[in-house]
Amino acid sequence: MLKAKVILVALGAALAVPQALAGATPEEDRKETVEYFKQMFPDVPFEEFVNGQYALNDDRRKQWESMQDFPPYEFAVAEGQEMFETPFANGKTYASCFENGGIGIRQNYPYFDTEKNEVITLELAINRCREANGEEPLKWKKGAIASISAYMASTSQGKPINIKVPDDPDALAAYQDGKEFYYSRRGQLNFSCASCHVQNPGKWIRADFLSPTVGQPANFPVHRAKWGELGTLHRRFAGCNNNVRADPLPAQSEEYRNLEYFLTYMSNGLPVVGPATRP
């Protein structure tokens, strides 16, 4: 009788351990996520996921390709470059705040700052750079900040996204918070980010064609036809929340930065293609 109990306990423990370890690390999460989408879209080359809906819908792709001769964000990128290179009142420029003078670094953002214990997005770093140099911060969602961010992204085109979650409990907590946000249903319509972009990519939701999770942040900032201008990733987060009748959170809030951290980590290895266009 005792032997039987011992065997049962051991069996239970053996079954429970793999369950507890499943998805225990961000890298395991990412691998499982990539595998999930590869199985969902076996004919789509992995690198094509950065093109979102254009990788999944031929009609949308043709429209998009026809726009690429004269992309609507070109002027904004040129303005962004000019702003990036124009000295602040103290004579310094944005280049003084970033590694490699801010050129070709988009793929490393967002990162977790283990001293400040927070996720640093590119837009946050741009505004902190301004404040450190005695300038007023820019508004977060569009306009100058989107143009500067777009210019910086353009200098990283083709570089593989390389987000790191350091061996630090706070960094892991930030990643987990972002993951929880992504999978939690919100709003009166009771949708999570995952309801659309994990469970239903490749399908229509009213007039919108849903893109998959992997590759999504690779093309930001984006010029949306709906906006008629460039916008940041947090502008898109707020729009998605609003669509499901959930109160949007402030751009660059801790919640949205953690969400960006998780989401961008899922795209590790895919190339930066931003800025880009979306309907």
Binding site: A22, K179, S184, N242
Partner: protein, 101 residues
């Protein structure tokens, strides 16, 4: 000697029901403040429509239309309660659908 005491007693007895009887303004304020605080309890799970109803309730009350104000505040309270329930439910439910959990 007894007359003043009787008068005080009667006036007290008459004033109790008057004090207990709240008007529509007080009824509105009670349900509105409950709806507001429940909406706050939803934290990052607040619904846009709850805020819309709260604004409509406030606007109706400012215009003296307490019947509409109370109806809007009642709706806001129900919506806020649903959003709080969603918040509580999602605390664990997200894990069941997340890849890697």
């Amino acid at each position: 000697m007894k007359k003043p005491l009787l008068a005080i007693g009667i006036s007290l007895a008459l004033s109790v029901p008057l004090a207990a009887q709240a008007g529509p303004k007080e009824d509105f304020q009670e349900v509105y403040s409950k709806a507001q605080s429940t909406h706050q309890d939803a934290g990052t799970f607040q619904w846009t429509i709850t805020g819309d109803r709260l604004k409509a309730a406030k606007s109706a009350a400012d215009n003296g239309d307490y019947e509409k104000a109370i109806a809007m505040a009642d709706e806001a309270l129900k919506l806020a309660e649903e959003s709080v329930a969603q918040r509580k439910q999602q605390k664990e439910a997200w894990r069941h659908v997340a890849i890697g959990n």
